[in-house]
């Protein structure tokens, strides 16, 4: 019975399969190690439930902000198949512009006015931040990426890293090395206490705003003519142009949308972290990139979901693993490495088409 299924199976265990099993075994070992650590250390500490709930709420706030930035990565990747590594800086510049608008508003006493004035001023600050990011994002596309559209795929990636450094150090040169601190208006400084759980107004506003912006983006992509054109260009640029779609215009619109979300995130992160400076977009940018990869890069719901998961892991992880909070970045980036090894296509595991691969 040379052709029995068993023999065929045995024959298939060649080098490649062996490697696959090795990687799976490694994955299982890492998972067990982490689970063991959580059970013996994190849970043994006996934190109250309210502690975990507070951590989770923080995670959602952070995750919402990451999601806005992650969407920018994923939108651009979906259409151009490149990682815009300067996207974190696009966000940072939104935060910087937001800071100066806030100073302007504070100087005019808008932040002490009636609540309607404060809300209008906050909205104005966010819009200015978004506009600044849009200007930078569109300039990036025009100057750093479009001339390299026909180049091998590694080239625009290098250009993106160069643009990232250029933007960081331009901001350093113009605005100095010291951090600019956001001063929150009285209206959003407090919070709500539910039992032992404290919900800050700022956090709640950030989360709700993030969700609203994501819904707006989802609506644009799924329900408008423009969004339909974006999806068509993402699938097949040249066929879309046969339909009368100006592909360059769609690419610009993609950068506009991604940068606007990043600008909003930059301003909200400013209020959340209370400071912005020249390099404050770098690490959050990488985190958002991690989130986009976690959800499956190019996949819009994936980016949103991946970001929320990353936010939760980052806020609950250190306590669960019994390590100092300063190590939360280690957790996030270890996660990136693990996804790239074990599930490069991300949680939403889209099959990579030949063009993307």
């Amino acid at each position: 019975m040379a052709n029995s299924p068993l023999n065929v199976q045995a024959a298939k265990i060649d080098g490649q399969t062996a490697q696959k099993y090795l990687i799976r075994a490694l994955g299982a070992a890492i998972f067990l190690l982490v689970a063991w650590r959580v059970i013996t250390v994190g849970l043994a500490e006996g934190y109250p439930a309210s502690f975990w709930i507070s951590q989770a709420l923080n995670g959602l706030v952070l995750g919402g902000v990451y999601a806005l930035v992650a969407l920018g990565y994923t939108l651009v990747y979906g259409i151009l198949f490149m990682i815009n590594f300067a996207h974190g800086e696009v966000m940072m510049i939104g935060g910087i512009a937001g800071f100066f608008t806030l100073q302007f508003a504070l100087a005019r006493g808008w932040m002490e006015g009636p609540w309607l004035v404060v809300v209008a001023a906050l909205l104005f600050i966010m819009l200015v931040g978004m506009a600044a990011s849009v200007v930078i994002g569109v300039a990036l596309e025009r100057l750093a990426y479009r001339p390299l559209r026909q180049a091998p795929r590694l080239v625009p990636l290098i250009s993106a890293i160069g643009a990232s450094l250029f933007l960081q150090y331009s901001v350093l040169l113009i605005f100095g090395v010291s951090p600019h601190s956001y001063r929150k208006p009285e209206l959003i400084s407090g919070g709500l206490r539910l039992g032992d759980v404290f919900i800050s107004y700022t956090g709640a506003i950030i989360f709700v705003t993030s969700v609203l912006l994501m819904l707006a983006l989802f609506f644009i992509i799924q329900r408008t003519k423009l969004g339909r054109a974006m999806r068509a260009v993402a699938e097949d640029r040249s066929t879309a142009s046969l339909m009368g779609v100006d592909v360059n215009a769609v690419i610009v619109v993609t950068f506009v949308l991604g940068s606007a979300l990043a600008g909003a995130a930059g301003v909200m992160l400013g209020f959340h972290n209370t400071v912005v400076k020249f390099n404050s977009g770098f690490v959050p940018g990488l985190k958002a990139f991690t989130a986009a990869v976690l959800g499956g890069i190019g996949n819009i719901p994936g980016a949103m979901f991946g970001a929320l998961v990353l936010g939760l892991i980052e806020s609950m992880g250190p306590s669960a693993l019994g390590i100092p909070t300063e190590y939360k970045d280690v957790i996030a980036f270890s996660l990136l490495v693990l996804i790239l090894i074990f599930r490069p296509s991300g949680l939403f595991g889209e099959v990579l088409s030949e063009k993307k691969a």
Partner: protein, 250 residues
């Protein structure tokens, strides 16, 4: 209506079209036949502006249309298409249904059809044309909400043609509409080409299935390695022994 004058197109250093000249008159079906790699698709893509001609000119007569800014016009020959990007050529009413159908797989059938009408703003006209396309291809009606990628090959071809028609083109460029389809479906597709033409549509048809393509056409051109080697009335080409030997498998 469409005039190509000694058009040369290159892929890098490869000289793919070596001076193609051809004409398509209003209301005609013109077939461009030839074997694999002869330059048929390259010709269509050069007309559409997906590829740019390095030399020669392409004119499109469009009597009542508006001119895009950078287009130049020669009074008797029409608009120079070879200077325009693809989306502007499409907006002038030159619609290509590309080789391999190129359906947007993740967009629904309805969205694919809507993409065809992308450049249009007359919503009543669009919904009229949608009705007409669905009348022509009743199979699409049942599948409007389905992703384009889930359609069978024949349905995808119908969708590709329907999508092109949704732009209400003045000329339709069809690239290998019969490719990969079962004989019965091939017949059906050619029947539809006849029908669309009878309704007044001008068609430039590229085909490897020379027999069927010449039967449906008024005139034809035979393309060999980037050069037009023969042209004439479709009936004459069908009767031509050279054509019969090389392309009709007789």
């Amino acid at each position: 209506m469409l005039i190509l004058e000694s058009v040369h197109t290159f892929y890098g250093h490869i000289h793919a079209l070596k001076g193609i000249s051809l004409t398509v008159n209003e209301g005609e079906v013109v077939s461009l036949i030839g074997s694999n790699g002869a330059g048929k698709t390259t010709t269509l893509n050069t007309i559409s502006g997906v590829l740019s001609a390095r030399a020669g000119s392409i004119y499109f007569q469009e009597p009542n249309g508006s001119l895009p800014g950078q287009a130049s016009r020669s009074p008797d020959q029409g608009i120079r298409l070879d200077q325009l990007p693809a989306h502007e050529v499409a907006r002038l009413g030159v619609s290509q249904s590309p080789e391999g159908r190129k359906i947007f797989a993740r967009l629904s059938v309805q969205e694919n059809l809507a993409m065809g009408a992308f450049a249009r703003t007359d919503s009543t006209g669009i919904s009229e044309d949608l009705d007409r396309v669905l009348e022509l291809f009743p199979r699409l009606q049942e599948r409007l909400k389905q992703p384009g990628g889930t359609l069978s090959g024949g349905e995808q071809q119908m969708l590709a043609i329907g999508r092109s028609l949704m732009s209400r083109p003045r000329i339709l460029l069809l690239d290998e509409p019969s490719m990969g389809l079962a004989p019965l479906l091939v017949q059906q597709i050619f029947q539809i080409i006849r029908e669309i033409n009878a309704q007044g549509m001008t068609i430039l048809l590229v085909e490897q299935n020379a027999q069927a393509a010449l039967q449906v056409a008024h005139r034809g051109y035979v393309l060999e390695t980037g050069t037009i080697v023969l042209s004439g009335k479709a009936g004459d080409l069908l009767a031509n022994p050279q054509v019969a030997e090389a392309y009709l498998g007789i």
